[in-house]
Symmetry: C2
Subunit: 235 residues, 2 copies
């Protein structure tokens, strides 16, 4: 089966966490809105009734559609063996993945503190204040948390030697934070050696390395979740 992934076609955004795991695992998928355009995504969303995705990304197979990044990844991990394969450990992975979801939501709120429907320029002053708190309080808190999790097992990944969906998400988190807050990340990264080693190990996975140099990997840009506005950064 080839999965249909539906997500906005011009940003890495939340969809990238799903793409990365699929690419790392070598699972076939079609990135539907990149093939058919954002209008096709909107039409697909609108054609679904009842219990349906609230927002992209989602994976679909006819009437079946599963949304919410952490949920998609937990489901895929079971089917394609990039979880732990043992209940208690898989529960831990999902807990960590949901915490990635939390920081990703906070990252978006940094540049859109008042409303997602307003332009950045209309909430720039508030974003500057939010960014200062995020840099000082939230980056250290989340990074230290993931650093500790990576200390639980011997090896570069959360599970030790075997990569899981949490590792590909931590890779994208580090990449995103580096893009959005280059000065701050430069200052603090050395506090989180395991997190950086995990990022490097994921970059070295065959599937991820091939993906990273392909045109399937969308560069970070000023429309996504992680956005580089120099005024929001600081050492």
């Amino acid at each position: 089966m080839t999965y249909d992934l539906w997500y906005w076609p011009t940003i890495p955004g939340r969809g990238e966490f799903v793409r990365l795991a699929l690419e790392a695992a070598g699972v076939a998928y079609r990135d539907r809105a990149r093939e058919d355009g954002a209008d096709a995504l909107i039409a697909d969303m609108e054609a679904r009734a009842g219990i349906r995705p609230f927002a992209p990304p989602y994976l679909a197979d006819g009437d079946f559609a599963i949304a919410q990044v952490a949920h998609i990844l937990a489901w895929l991990a079971d089917r394609h063996d990039f979880g732990a394969g043992e209940l208690d450990r898989d529960l831990e992975l999902i807990m960590l993945q949901l915490t990635v979801t939390d920081i990703v939501a906070e990252v978006h709120a940094v540049h859109h503190p008042i409303a997602g429907s307003l332009y950045y320029d209309d909430q720039k002053d508030e974003a500057r204040q939010a960014a200062a708190h995020f840099r000082d309080e939230r980056i250290p808190k989340f990074c230290a948390y993931f650093e500790d999790a990576l200390g639980a097992n011997e090896g570069a990944f959360v599970l030790g030697k075997k990569w899981s969906h949490v590792d590909t998400s931590l890779f994208q988190l580090v990449e995103g934070l580096r893009y959005m807050f280059p000065q701050r990340m430069k200052s603090v990264e050395s506090n989180y050696p395991k997190l950086i080693a995990c990022r490097d190990a994921v970059a070295g996975l065959e599937g991820v390395a091939a993906y990273s140099t392909s045109d399937r990997r969308i560069a970070f840009n000023a429309d996504g979740i992680f956005r580089h506005y120099p005024e929001l950064d600081g050492a």
Copy 2:
């Protein structure tokens, strides 16, 4: 087994979504920080190492601890039969529950748009702007989404006749929105008859009815996720 629930003892907050499902199902639990105080919660959090909860609420049994509301509920639902008991339907329930998680995070961000670490009074002007957008854009979007989901099956609950963890969470969501935005909810509730019927049906569940009049149910207050600040409401 009696579960240990750890959550802040003086607010309904995120812990209430877990409490409600436990109470509806008649599952035994100890609300540990209400017995032993917030310091005991902090001490328990700090004593955990490696892969551990990022924040309360969590359920614990010795070294085992599971955090993240949607994750706790999906896990409990499997063990105590308040899910669907069928994979595709359970995946839908988890997707809906994670969307409740999303709106709950947005609700908190309404009164804390700049930073969770600042007082409300220090971000009151920004909160007023955020609240206007939340009332106009987000309440209708989320409520319409859950209304559609409730139309998928015949009966008051998402699954039809059988209540699930999504229903108890929708109950708490409606209760919280009514407390935080009484004027707005009064204006818009008639647009979401299935959501209100679901709320009423949950209120009528034996376990929930008994819980609601007990001293275990903590009233909404100005320290929780749902807070009533009159200046944030509007018809």
